[in-house]
């Protein structure tokens, strides 16, 4: 139950609250450049979502099994050359950026070939965007967030599993799609507006993006609110259990348990 709640919160966070474009500013180039027509924006959005998910899968797998200290594959291979204890400390995270960027570009290549061969219709609608995507920061950003949640956590139990990583990536892509589609709709309308000459083009897009970012700020805290709403019933129960196994010398907590909102 906790796991699904976490997944749900990651999804909402990536798509709306901390929208990739409007909060983290990644993927701005296509957001400003490509978003002239709605159908193109939809195509671009889906292409990004598609690639981001695949790249996330690759980067999670590589990070977990090869890069982090004590990762199974790297320590197994190193075990042939040095002692087992030393092999468990092999830290390859310094290579992570290089590995990710190659994972992204190869997945873009792969996706392009695959889609071209097996889904020609799909290729027609978003194939043209695929090569552009390699330098889309949103994808590398998703990989980096996943890395920091796999390799950067102090408590190994908190490290993200594949499910969370894919959720973040997929919904990050959805958030990107939402932003870029809204923006393209507005830009179609902007053609009829009388914009000052010096602000035409990118400048007015930034200002509209600012207003959008302002509107999206309304979502701040929705995740905490949802968590609170969904957890309130479990919280009392679980903290009672906890008190039982840890000596009952602090009885007052039993009463306060419901007020504690954010359990780590």
């Amino acid at each position: 139950m906790d796991y699904f709640l976490d997944i749900f919160l990651i999804a909402i966070g990536a798509a709306l609250i901390n929208n990739f474009v409007l909060y983290y500013f990644v993927g701005i180039c296509p957001f400003i450049g490509v978003s002239r027509r709605i159908d193109m924006a939809v195509g671009m959005g889906f292409a990004v979502t598609f690639v981001i998910t695949i790249a996330a899968f690759l980067s999670w797998t590589i990070t977990t099994f090869i890069l982090i200290p004590g990762a199974p594959i790297s320590s197994f291979i190193a075990g042939f050359f040095i002692s087992k204890a030393e092999a468990a400390h092999i830290d390859l995270t310094i290579l992570s950026y290089i590995v990710y960027i190659f994972a992204i570009s190869s997945s873009v290549q792969f996706v392009e070939m695959y889609v071209k061969k097996f889904f020609p219709v799909l290729y027609k609608s978003f194939g043209v965007f695929l090569p552009l995507i390699t330098t889309n920061c949103a994808i590398l950003f998703a990989c980096l967030v996943i890395m920091s949640n796999v390799a950067g956590v102090e408590n190994p139990a908190d490290a993200w599993g594949l499910g969370k990583a894919l959720t973040l990536a997929f919904f990050g892509g959805i958030g990107f799609t939402i932003a870029i589609v809204i923006m393209s709709g507005i830009r179609e309308e902007l053609e009829f507006c009388d914009i000052p000459k010096s602000l035409e083009g990118a400048a007015i897009s930034f200002i509209v993006a600012g207003i959008l970012a302002m509107a999206f700020m309304g979502f701040t805290g929705v995740d905490s609110g949802l968590k609170k709403a969904m957890k309130s019933k479990d919280a009392a129960l679980s903290s009672k259990l906890h008190i039982l196994d840890s000596e009952s010398q602090i009885p007052k907590y039993l009463k306060e348990a419901e007020k504690i909102e954010y359990l780590t």
């Binding site: 906790d2 830290d91 310094i94 290579l95 290089i98 102090e154 408590n155 139990a157 701040t220 805290g221 905490s224 968590k227 679980s238 259990l241 906890h242 196994d245 840890s246 000596e247 010398q249 602090i250 007052k252 907590y253 306060e256 007020k259 504690i260 909102e261 954010y262 359990l263 780590t264």
Partner: protein, 212 residues
């Protein structure tokens, strides 16, 4: 010859060569810098420990008397809701006696994760200091939790009762003033402190490391 020239590996010799060069460069960087980075990571928390336990005056006194604080970092894992949660705990020892504890803990704030250090007295029933390591709360509102004015309210609060952030001004001893307009951030800090202390108090008391 023609076939030889078109071989992929041969064509990519530059890539392979560059990879080797860059790889060794990175290995060098890693060798030189990684101890420093690790030290930075540890120092970030370790450097705060004396002040959190002894206070500013205490640190000055320590320096004056030429004494030093021995700090034992360790990781404590507890089982809660069928999940293993681990905390980093620093035990400070002065002249062979435990002079206090610092717990590193984190939790959700209004915007993102809040990471903080809690200083506790030797018998773990009073808070001796609070430091916010990382927070991304709303600038101008929630980020005031990192200010001294807010943090010093926690000092010498009793940990037997949960600390509550009050919107209307603290009235009872276990209450603190919430930051105006940022009640959620204030409450988050309280709840992180409460949870961490609650989780660790008994286990720390039970199996203290004998001061050397």
């Amino acid at each position: 010859m023609e076939k030889f020239k078109n071989n992929y590996i041969i064509q990519a010799w530059l890539v392979v060569f560059l990879s080797l060069c860059f790889g060794s460069a990175l290995a060098g960087v890693q060798l030189v810098l990684s101890p420093k980075i690790e030290a930075n990571k540890i120092n970030e928390t370790l450097a705060k420990v004396p002040e959190l336990i002894l206070g500013k005056e205490g640190v000055k006194r320590l320096a004056k008397e030429g004494l030093s604080l021995k700090i034992n970092p360790r990781i404590i894992q507890i089982k809660k809701n069928n999940r293993i949660i681990s905390y980093k705990v620093f035990q400070a020892i002065e002249k062979g006696k435990v002079s206090g504890w610092v717990i590193k803990s984190s939790g959700r704030g209004y915007a993102d994760k809040i990471e903080l250090l809690i200083g506790l007295n030797p018998s773990l029933n009073k808070i001796s200091g609070l430091f916010i390591i990382e927070q991304k709360e709303t600038p101008g509102l929630g980020n005031k939790i990192a200010n001294l004015d807010f943090r010093k309210q926690f000092i010498s609060k009793n940990t037997n009762t949960a600390i509550i952030a009050s919107k209307t001004g603290a009235t009872s001893p276990n209450e603190i003033d919430a930051i105006t307009g940022a009640t959620i951030s204030s409450r988050s800090v309280c709840s992180i402190v409460n949870t961490a202390v609650k989780d660790l108090r008994s286990s720390l008391k039970k199996n203290q490391i004998k001061p050397i």
